[in-house]
Amino acid sequence: MALDKNGIAKRIAREVADGMYVNLGIGIPTLVANFIPEGMDVVLQSENGLLGMGPFPIEGEEDADLINAGKQTITTLPGSVFFDSAMSFGMIRARKVDLTILGAMEVSENGDIANWKIPGKMVKGMGGAMDLVASAKNIIVAMQHCDKAGNSKLMPACGLPLTGVKCVKKIVTDLAVLEVRDGAFHLLERAPGVSVEEIISKTSGKLIINGEIPEVSI
């Protein structure tokens, strides 16, 4: 069975280690926060200017001055700190943020990512995505393996306008966990009950399979 959104988020949460500073993008990446194990100390960065992002406020305690990069009302935690947007991207550019998790429309076998623009459709902008992918130490992409028409999103080269080049390190999809290196996708794990053959047929970029591929355990 393919992983659902929570399954993808749960699997990515296993990549998060104690003491990390992590930036979570909008969508599935946001869900990762729900699966960080109790007792693990992780500081979430919100690129509008906050380290130490807490959960949503309880009703009645929303603060218009306190939002995350998705413009949602949030809270702080003990040790939280605010800063301006230049410092926020300064710490990203200077590689102080350990892990960036974001969504994608396409990823290529050499780690290029496209996630901001579809020609002919309304262009909303790249926000902070280009800054994040250009500088992050470690980038994990959370996405569906195929688009709605069934076309592979893991491609030899991206067809859509790029957000960044040669930057994605790992991908967790509904079907598989893959590492991106040396110009190829390396299959690490498969979703429960999903065959290697299915992953091969749904990956259009270069795919390397070494030995037995274990199922994702979450």
């Binding site: 690129e47 200017g49 001055d65 301006d84 280009m130």
Partner: protein, 232 residues
């Protein structure tokens, strides 16, 4: 003569802003936007503005109010998704839009305030953002050269300020505000609380008043929330 930067209200603060000027407007989404000054610009009816602001407001609030009134010629932003009128004007060609990565936008403001003509950033290397820009390699990594912004006026919103123009921001309403405050040829700050010199702890001031030319106490802040989310 003591340094005294207080003006009466938004009307006095916005004197001199005229057609065709380039303005920086602080805020992230609707968080930390200079509500009083935007309302004043709508009232003044100045046109053909170039606005540097991370976002473009929503249809009936923030910079959306200036868009509705067709006062903006060009937007320089990183993300503009929440505004139907914006989309209509952009698709019809009435509105020019330059999309800039968010960190580049912030740092181009910062560079202006630090007196530096350019920055080098890796954001956008290998993408269409890099088209026509100088690329330089430092220590094995490519960087784009991006220019400091040049704005006639910067308009920011702070939480507290004193009569000398020193500013303190609150929570994530800080965002672009201190950067833009440093970057305008003339900087206007509207504040929720205006106090006397000495009332703000010098250790806690975010923007030194030297960067601020006009300050006033804003009124009737709506502080609209764009995405109200609560714990289940």
């Amino acid at each position: 003569m003591p340094i005294y930067k207080v003006v009466k209200n938004a009307e006095e603060a916005c004197l001199g802003i005229s057609d065709g000027m380039t303005l920086m407007i602080g805020g992230f989404g609707l968080c930390g936007i200079p509500e009083n000054s935007i309302a004043q610009l709508v009232k003044n009816g100045v046109k053909n503005l170039t606005c540097i602001s991370n976002n473009a407001g929503v249809d009936d609030f923030g910079l959306g109010l200036l868009l509705q009134n067709r006062q903006i010629k060009k937007m320089i932003s990183s993300y503009v998704g929440e505004n139907a009128e914006f989309e209509r004007q952009m698709l019809s060609g009435e509105l020019e839009v330059e999309l800039v990565p968010q960190g580049t936008l912030a740092t181009r403001c910062m560079a202006a305030g630090y007196g530096m003509p350019v920055i080098y950033t890796p954001a956008g290397v290998g993408t269409e953002v890099a088209e026509g820009k100088e690329v330089r390699n430092f220590n094995g990594k490519d960087y784009l050269m991006e220019y400091a912004f040049d704005a006639d006026y910067a308009i920011v919103k702070a939480w507290k300020g004193d009569t000398m123009g020193n500013l303190v921001f609150r929570a994530t309403a800080r965002n672009f505000n201190p950067l833009m405050a440093m970057a305008g040829k003339i900087t206007i700050a509207e504040v929720e609380e205006l106090v006397e010199p000495g009332e703000l702890d010098p250790n806690m001031i975010h923007t030194p008043g030297i960067y601020v030319h006009r300050i006033f106490k804003g009124e009737n802040y709506e502080k609209r929330i764009e995405q109200r989310t609560v714990r289940q």
